[in-house]
Amino acid sequence: MDLDKLRKTAAEVVAREDVRYLLGWKKGTFGYRIAPGFVEDAESAAELIFSPLCTANLATYLTLTEKPPLPRGQEPDDRKVAVMVKGCDSRAVTQLLIEKGIERESVVIIGCPCPGVVDHELLAEKYPETEETAELKWSDKGFLLLQNGEETEIARDELLAEKCRLCRYPNPVVSDIMVGEPVETWEPDDDQGVAEVEGKNAEVRWEYWQEQFSNCLRCYSCRNVCPLCYCEDCILDRLNPTWIYRSVNFSENTAFNLARAFHLAGRCIECGECERVCPANIPLGKLNRKLAREVREKYGFEPGVDPEAEPFQASYKPDDPEEFIL
């Protein structure tokens, strides 16, 4: 990835009059951290990076930004927001378009073809973090780690994030500007995480998930970070009616986690953010990917690919599978 080109493009975009700010990735404050950056002027574009550390899906911010009551007479700022997207992130944007969560004219999409990002936890485990900020680059073999002045070659397979192993759209599916050449797509792995759970018998599965769900803190990070969870007033913490009580125990946690996953059926674009941010390390990705796979294989639908598609949950085919019906 040619960073200069990326920064130049970004600088040009933020300089545009009709652009409010640009969402990109910046170096974080320590270790392998990356911080989402809100770039408002051309100079700051120089801080942008794009590296295998850039896991965050910035499309989230397109809908996360609140709209506090405008003082009377003040016009809303409806300039565009520019957003840098990897392949998976671009699918979030597309899905948002399908769901009218955003309007096409309200965004400038800067596509960043992505050879795959790393699993931060694995990385930190194998190459312990230091307070110095480290850099990670794509290399021929996989990744090149620059940490405290030292360079380390790391094989791609060693660190590649699970979502990337399974990725089928490393190149942005929608963009206004592309930085860099499209990457060659790869054969997605079999989803071992899901298969492993499926392989267990029902009771073991239930126990497995009960254990996982009991850990849930109900912090709602998974929901907040998800680019496709953007209801004004989420039903999962609404009081009237109360679908799910606020107390934290496995019954409510299970209800919460299932409902969250279900609401994303046919919408989740498998960016893996929810799993990444979950402070309780709940393997949310397995839930999402299981549903995504069913949606794909049984119903022939893939979210976030075709902006003209009918939303999965609001459509049907007369020949949808029904072998489960008595």
Binding site: W209, S251, T254, A261, F262, A265, L287, Q313, Y316
Partner: protein
């Protein structure tokens, strides 16, 4: 499972086909197990999949959703939407280890009083085999 365990089943029936079918079963004095309690909705399309989860959480051992056969929906398409949504839900529940015998969906038309009986029998029998569903109960919590 203890032989005399009686499962508690909540059923969501569409007003036009299955509820009418269940009524017909009554009019024809067809006998079936009493474990099933019906909540009437206008269309299976109304059945929010979260209802199914909620019922399991609130104390149901099994849930049944029943509506018109494809193409016969009083509202033309409601049952198609229901089929898709609830099919997904079934996959999800199964994936987390909820016994698939706890949740069924069926098509029962207004003229199928006998089919209704069969569906109820099957649902009850399955729920019986699956046993009491304590795993997910709110009541399990130390109140």
């Amino acid at each position: 499972m203890s032989a005399n365990y009686e499962p508690n089943i909540v059923a969501f029936l569409c007003n036009w086909c299955s509820y009418a079918g269940a009524d017909l079963a009554g009019t024809s004095r067809v006998q079936y197990p009493p474990n099933i309690q019906v909540i009437r909705v206008m269309c299976t399309g109304r059945v929010n999949p979260l209802y199914v989860m909620n019922a399991l959480q609130q104390g149901a051992d099994g849930v049944l959703v029943s509506g018109c056969h494809p193409g016969d929906c009083h509202y033309m398409e409601g049952n198609y939407y229901a089929r898709r949504r609830l099919g997904m839900l079934k996959d999800l529940l199964e994936f987390v280890g909820v016994d698939p015998r706890r949740f069924h969906m069926s098509w029962v038309s207004a003229s199928e009083g006998h089919k209704w009986k069969e569906v109820v029998e099957k649902t009850v029998e399955d729920a019986k085999e699956a046993g009491p569903f304590e795993g997910f109960r709110r009541r399990q919590i130390d109140w």
